[in-house]
Point group: C3
Chain length 352, copies 3
Amino acid sequence: MDFAITIIEQIQKPTLAFLIAGMMLAALGSKFEIPEPVYKFIVILLLLKIGMGGGIAIRSADFMSLIVPAIGAALLGITIVFLGSKTLAKMRGVAELDALATVGMFGAVSASTLAAGMTMLDDSGIAYEGYIGALYPFMDIAALVTAIVLAKLSVARQAASDVQINGDGTVLMRGPTQPASGQELDGTSEIVRGIMVDTFRSPAISALVAGLCLGILAEPNTVFKSFYEPLFRGLLSILMLIMGLEAWSRFAELRKVAHTYILYGVTAPIIHGLMGFGVGLIAHQLTGFSEGGVILLAVMAASSSDISGPPTMRAALPDANSSAYVGTSTGLGTPVAILRIPLFMALTDWVM
Amino acid sequence: MDFAITIIEQIQKPTLAFLIAGMMLAALGSKFEIPEPVYKFIVILLLLKIGMGGGIAIRSADFMSLIVPAIGAALLGITIVFLGSKTLAKMRGVAELDALATVGMFGAVSASTLAAGMTMLDDSGIAYEGYIGALYPFMDIAALVTAIVLAKLSVARQAASDVQINGDGTVLMRGPTQPASGQELDGTSEIVRGIMVDTFRSPAISALVAGLCLGILAEPNTVFKSFYEPLFRGLLSILMLIMGLEAWSRFAELRKVAHTYILYGVTAPIIHGLMGFGVGLIAHQLTGFSEGGVILLAVMAASSSDISGPPTMRAALPDANSSAYVGTSTGLGTPVAILRIPLFMALTDWVM
Amino acid sequence: MDFAITIIEQIQKPTLAFLIAGMMLAALGSKFEIPEPVYKFIVILLLLKIGMGGGIAIRSADFMSLIVPAIGAALLGITIVFLGSKTLAKMRGVAELDALATVGMFGAVSASTLAAGMTMLDDSGIAYEGYIGALYPFMDIAALVTAIVLAKLSVARQAASDVQINGDGTVLMRGPTQPASGQELDGTSEIVRGIMVDTFRSPAISALVAGLCLGILAEPNTVFKSFYEPLFRGLLSILMLIMGLEAWSRFAELRKVAHTYILYGVTAPIIHGLMGFGVGLIAHQLTGFSEGGVILLAVMAASSSDISGPPTMRAALPDANSSAYVGTSTGLGTPVAILRIPLFMALTDWVM
């Protein structure tokens, strides 16, 4: 019951409501569309804002005390993505590209879920470190970049193996700088480097990182508060309309594997939350990381991106099926994660 | 005198001032232009906002008590358009397409005129139903859609009759699904259905209806207040600049029929207001609709669209002459309607 | 030291920080870009806002008392540009087009420097005329238009002289309405007229002047406050990103003449400030122009455009090197001008 109510509330919120509105428009054959140049600009503004917000959070935190937990947060994000690449992405019938985009979303962080967690702790009088908010960009960007690199690598491998299948004795390779079989490891690491460079030079990650640097090094607060922040939710609603329009046309592809995504969407937040809880617990033993901090690290790891993920994935992996990754993360991952916050709070009571 | 002052005040307001600025730029040969993709996006944002605003108004009203007056409001909007299609559109020298666009604007509602009416009633201590504000989208959308459908039907008929004139014995028809003469009624209703479907799938009406549904069914208030509402007047000012640039180049076409539009712009608000007053009076007798409600229904019927109309017509009927429909409605219809509010207030004193 | 701190503070402010971020992105080979239609729209919004702000300032001032100082301000702007066209633009190795764009920026006014000056006077209890704020668009637009006309004239002359070099007895001329040598003066004035007309019809100056007229003649305050003003700093930050991306690719061109621009950027504000001080002193003797007014006229003349200039120059003179004109004015001119405000205050104490 609670779950159903949380899902309905989530659906009525702008993010999902606009996504569904876009799907309805597509279903009814509307000619509604957002011009491409405007769409590109919207994505850039969103990502600059997300990066800048993260940067401002990092800047206002004490940098030294941040280093260790930040590395922990980034490793959590990367681990979640690798875990997903070995589970969801290997399921029968699941397209690897769609799975990696989904897994990237679950590695990334939902700022609103984190905010909900902070509110609950405040209400219960549980203290936490002031720099916790500054940890989220580390987990977020690490997970998104890892997922994008893995996805591009998978596409490159696909292209290479296609060539080998079509080959007839002579080895014909049209894939990107494809290695001979003896040098496979070297070749792969070269491809990975190429993909990493490509990813950081892509408009999406460039905008995210440029925003992050501006937030850390410059004083963009006035323009952030007067422009990027007020426009953010509105532009996100437009992006959701666009993604809804697209998602509809690719909905059918998912029919056969929908149950796999539902299973992942319902279980992954709990497993990821427990992983975050474990890392937090270790930090608690070693450095005295607070009880509230442990809960919030679990919440961050459990949450899946509802804001930074969609524009990043849509721009970096245009071929991934947005019905899969937006639907699973925003439609299932976020409500599940929000409802599991009390679980992590009970767990600290029990363990710590 | 009062009329002249109201017109000057109206001209200085952003809506008309930017329209005139656009016309001046065109007259002086400026190369100023707004890129097409941006223009399309502006129209979509405006229509989403208009729809959402209407939807939120409907949502916060009691739906059951709304049904009867909503049907009345929609019928009024439709009747005004049909009346205009038999009068203004039949005048010698008046282009039917321009006339129907104009008539649609006069059927639609000016939110600012309605607000002016509410303020006057408040000042005079006259009560009215709380859901009155929620009636306006019904009249507005009914009138706009009717006018667009009639205009597209007129274009289709034109195309069909052109074919018959050029025919030489054998019947050649390139119009959309043209019927044989014996099945004319069936054929027309099929064409009407096709045009209705086309109209609702057009980007403009799609955006309007999507906004309406979001307003009624979802909880878009936060994004509405933080994004759509603050941007609205500014984007409208840009649209007015664009329409002014266009209007100038098509001004000459109107010279011969300008007096017809002026006559319509000055008399139609009064006739439509009396129609609204009559419908309100009937509702008063049957259901105890309040005195203030009767006045506001008259004001709504008398008013002509200054906000929802221009972007809708420009997107749905790009070939209609915007100098005709924007000039007549915003330049004449709105000031006449505002100045006639006291007339309707006096009328209730006298009749009721 | 003070100078270094002011420069660092200036660099961290959004204007320069986004410019540098854009340059970094370009340096790192990012594929980040803002779509052209959106860029064009941003420039139009910025210039409409700048014009409208100036217009509103003029409107709220007493027009009659404004005429004489406005003419003085405009003449100062024009003189500064002509002075620069005879000095910086004639330096060895300096491209005339880049120099004229730079000189136009130094003739134009920095609203933020002016605001800093006003604050310092308020703090020191020195009175000044209320209409001073309304003087800045006169100096600003006069300087920008003069620089653009001179630059276009220089390009036209260049084209014409190219033709004469390539000619072989018969005179071949592909330049715009090129005069025979006997009628040179007439021909030049005709070319100047053509360029003036072209300049005022260009999208940039059209938008600026349309905004100015709307500010003076209409009542755009509501839309100005709700839309143009809040969006301004944000859109400017985007423009700076774009200009940074461009500036990087053209940075190398400047290496050989950078010292010339640095010399100009450091000395010009002081010389221009003294010119403004002189004009103010004459006005003080003749019409009793206040002490504070004299200081602020000097500050205006000393300041170089950080806001109106970049979008105007980028749109009107797309071939000018933005690293030269934005770098010199925003990077050097503005901090030098701000630091020289106390000098002008001391000067009045000493002279008046």
